[in-house]
């Protein structure tokens, strides 16, 4: 493995794990805030116990998210020093604000975790809300920094120099809104389905049914709403990607030849050498419709992009298709849940119905990873789209593959440990929360 590939893989591994920890850490506080609110309003101790149980999960994921985030803030420089030397002053603004938001989150977490029965209960509830809000704000800011790499703005680039640098304009670049919206909804639906899935499993096993049913309901309502809204946000994103990064859209759709009545390819294996997709299903005119809102207007394909500036089509296309397939399944499940509440309440306790949600536990996170792959691999060969190539940003230090192996091992260990701790927490639910308090 050469050093460049090793550096990219190490970054991918680090971000791939961090994205899971931080999604859970930023979304679960909202679940906690709802159940905490219900406890204060109804006095039902089950809700207090749910909040307490969830807060332990949040603490575990916050700790892993905080350390993996700290590592990332250094890895940017350790692996891509030349990128940071040039881009730091331009796109660093969201990172410094994120530092502030994250700091506030850490303070609020301190109050919330250690403040049971110590403060006014509404103040205590408020700190829980602050954890969630500052977490989401952190997420939006980090994604805004990423969107700048896709759609660099806030400077003039002249003879290799960055002039008229404006970090605020860079932060509010043309892609920040669509990316941040898509990622935030993804975080809610992925975490919602994952948490709901775990509780559904417990309900199916007939353990602490009252506790887990209430917890399931809070999580799935968040997850289902986000999953139903996600396709609309996806449409905004796709249109924006076509406008700002036609190469990425071409790779996502494995769309080689510019044409009118552009077809949408579903599935299939792209063959870049022959510029065609094998085994895919083509729906004529649909891509034109998705991009331009009419079925005939031509859509520019990969043939408009020089070969050396094209991203890897195979990986981007497959990741994109995977994301769409899972997203659709989650949307369908979300609609089914609301239909069940509305018309078929008997479904809610049926085995097959619970099994569907148990099956869907990892769905959201698989889709998150796939979507992240689309945006990162789809940007290649650029680290700053159209300005700087990833291969020109990498550290000169040799032997990066060793650190890649090391970090891969570390992240796997960390994740196994976190899952192990969570399963212990879940196993202990009857012991910790069943007794009359």
């Amino acid at each position: 493995m050469n050093d460049f590939l090793a550096a990219r893989s190490q970054m991918a591994i680090s971000l791939g794990f961090h994205i899971i920890y931080s999604c859970i850490g930023m979304v679960m506080p909202f679940f906690m805030a709802v159940s905490h609110y219900k406890w204060i309003k109804t006095g039902d101790l089950v809700y207090k116990n749910i909040t307490r149980a969830w807060s332990k999960g949040v603490a575990i994921f916050f700790a892993t998210g905080a350390v993996s985030g700290t590592i990332l803030s250094f890895e940017l420089g350790l692996l891509w020093p030349k990128f940071m030397e040039q881009a730091g002053p331009i796109f660093g603004m969201p990172f410094s604000l994120e530092g502030v938001a994250f700091f506030i989150e850490a303070i609020a977490l301190g109050f919330f975790l250690y403040g049971w029965d110590k403060f006014n209960k509404w103040f205590h509830w408020f700190t829980c809300l602050v954890i969630g809000v500052s977490g989401i704000v952190s997420g939006i800011l980090v994604v805004s920094a990423n969107s700048w790499m896709n759609n660099p703005s806030g400077f003039n680039f002249l003879n290799g120099h960055y002039l008229n640098v404006d970090p605020i304009k860079a932060m509010f670049n043309g892609s920040w809104f669509s990316e941040a919206l898509h990622m935030s909804l993804a975080a809610f639906s992925a975490t919602g389905f994952a948490v709901a899935g775990v509780h559904a499993l417990m309900i199916a096993k007939r353990k602490n049914v009252v506790f887990h049913t209430k917890a399931f309901k809070i999580a799935i309502v968040f997850g289902a709403i986000a999953a139903i809204l996600q396709p609309f946000s996806g449409d905004i994103s796709a249109k924006n990607v076509y406008k700002t990064q036609p190469a990425k859209l071409g790779a996502m759709e494995a769309y080689y030849h510019t044409q009118a009545h552009a077809p949408l390819v579903i599935g299939g294996l792209p063959d870049t050498a022959a510029k065609k997709v094998n085994y895919g299903i083509e729906i004529p005119g649909l891509l034109s419709f998705l991009v331009h809102d009419n079925f005939s207007e031509p859509v520019n394909g990969l043939d408009k992009i020089p070969r050396q500036n094209q991203p890897p089509v195979m990986v981007t296309h497959i990741a994109f298709e995977l994301m769409i397939a899972i997203g659709s399944a989650m949307m369908f499940l979300g609609l089914m849940y609301f239909f069940a509440i509305w018309k078929k309440r008997s479904w809610l306790s049926k085995k097959w119905f619970l099994n569907l949600f148990i099956l869907a536990t990892p769905f959201g996170f698989i889709a998150v990873e796939a979507g992240w792959t689309v945006t990162e691999v789809g940007r290649q060969p650029w680290i700053i789209y159209g300005i700087m190539r990833t291969s020109n940003a990498v550290t000169p230090m040799p032997g990066i593959h060793y650190t890649f192996y090391l970090f891969t091992a570390v992240y796997f260990t960390l994740t196994i440990a976190a899952i192990f701790l969570l399963s212990r927490q879940i196993k202990m639910v009857p012991l910790l929360y069943d007794t009359k308090q």
Binding site: K56, A59, I60, F62, A63, T64, V67, S68, G69, T70, I71, S73, F74, L76, G77, L78, P81, K82, M84, E85, Q86, G88, P89, G92, M93, F95, S96, L97, G99, V100, F102, F103, I104, A106, I107, A108, G110, F111, L113, Y114, G115, F119, Y162, V165, D166, P167, I168, T395, P396, M397, T403, L406, V410, L414, L421, R424, Q425, K427, M428, L432
Partner: protein, 333 residues
């Protein structure tokens, strides 16, 4: 901006350092007394440890937004010690969180978390100090041609390692002083006072070692420090607070000793920071990296300044409230 950077670094040393120190104290506490130490420590740093480590992130962000070239160079030449420090931070943070959030308090797993926690508490400040030492050691070679001279000897030298050990000793010392105030009973207080005294001696010895190592490497540390009035003043203040400290430590004046301990460390950092200003990184061939000439464009610096000011208005009051809510009342002593 430079003031913010310095402030963030000082606060990280004072608060994060004390945090590491808590682990170091645990490491050097006999098996018999460990559970008590651990309990005091957990109660003292549990609610605030996440916040303490945010200062490192703030410092890094200021560095890469405001002084990107310096950040890029440090990340390149000090890749290895930074990596080890990061692994230390990771191991330490997760072990601390895991040992309190493992629902089953099994003996073996708890022992494992403890081991990871105490050893990483030692490694992390050691490498933090090595990085700080390397920044001023003049051993970083921007034109290095071999792996060893570029990426290894930049930090593996007597001076950097001595600064690393000194940082460990200072962390332990700070923690012992802070913990005196958080101790639950007379017995613990006595133990922490004893620890604090030992740590003071160790810190003074390692401090001397830094000067010896500087001599080995041909760094004229003494001439630098005593060559300007601000650093001399800082050293004198540090020395006076050290003496005061020694005298007051046994008398239960925990507020004063906390202040003097923090003052000492701040003064050491001030003396070193001032003598090198405006240089942040001193390199072998003399093109030292200056904070005044290698900063980001003006608009970035002013926007970053505003962001940090507004951020401080949000952070500092709530942080202060957090500390005051969870610190033990004075009545206990």
């Amino acid at each position: 901006m430079i003031a913010f950077l310095f402030l963030a670094i000082v606060l990280y040393f004072l608060l994060g350092g004390a945090d590491f120190g808590a682990g170091i104290i645990e490491l050097f506490t006999s098996e018999k007394n460990r559970p008590d130490t651990r309990k005091t420590m957990y109660e003292a740093i549990g609610p605030i440890w996440e916040a303490n480590h945010m200062w490192l992130i703030i410092a890094v962000v200021i560095l890469f937004v405001g002084f990107p070239f310096i950040y890029g160079q440090m990340c390149t030449w000090l890749h290895i010690p930074l990596l080890i420090m990061l692994l230390g931070i990771m191991a330490r943070g997760t072990a601390f969180a895991f040992r309190s959030y493992d629902a089953v308090k099994g003996e073996r797993t708890q022992r494992l978390y403890n081991h990871i926690f105490v050893y990483s508490s030692f490694i992390t400040p050691l490498f933090l100090g090595i990085i700080a030492g390397s920044a001023i050691s003049r051993q970083i070679d921007l034109h290095a041609t071999t792996f060893l001279s570029g990426y290894v000897f930049s930090w593996l030298n007597y001076f950097s390692v001595a600064v690393g050990l000194f940082t460990v000793a200072l962390s332990g010392y700070l923690a012992a002083i802070y913990l005196i105030g958080d101790a639950e009973n007379e017995n613990d207080v006595k133990r922490f006072i004893k620890k604090a005294r030992q740590m003071t001696i160790v810190a003074v010895i390692f401090g001397g070692l830094v000067f010896v190592a500087a001599g080995f490497e041909g760094i004229q540390l003494a001439r630098f420090i005593f060559g300007n009035p601000v650093s001399i003043l800082a050293v004198i203040v540090a020395a006076i607070s050290l003496i005061l400290q020694w005298a007051l430590i046994g008398r239960g004046k925990k507020k004063i000793i906390r202040v003097t301990a923090a003052l000492q460390v701040t003064m050491i950092l001030l003396a070193v920071g001032y003598m090198h200003f405006p240089y942040f990184v001193m390199v072998k061939t003399g093109e030292n990296l200056s904070l005044l000439s290698l900063h980001a464009p003006a608009k970035t610096i002013s926007d970053l300044g505003w962001a940090l000011c507004i951020g401080s208005l949000l952070i500092l009051p709530s942080l202060f409230y957090l500390y005051s809510s969870f610190s033990k009342g004075d009545h206990r002593f």
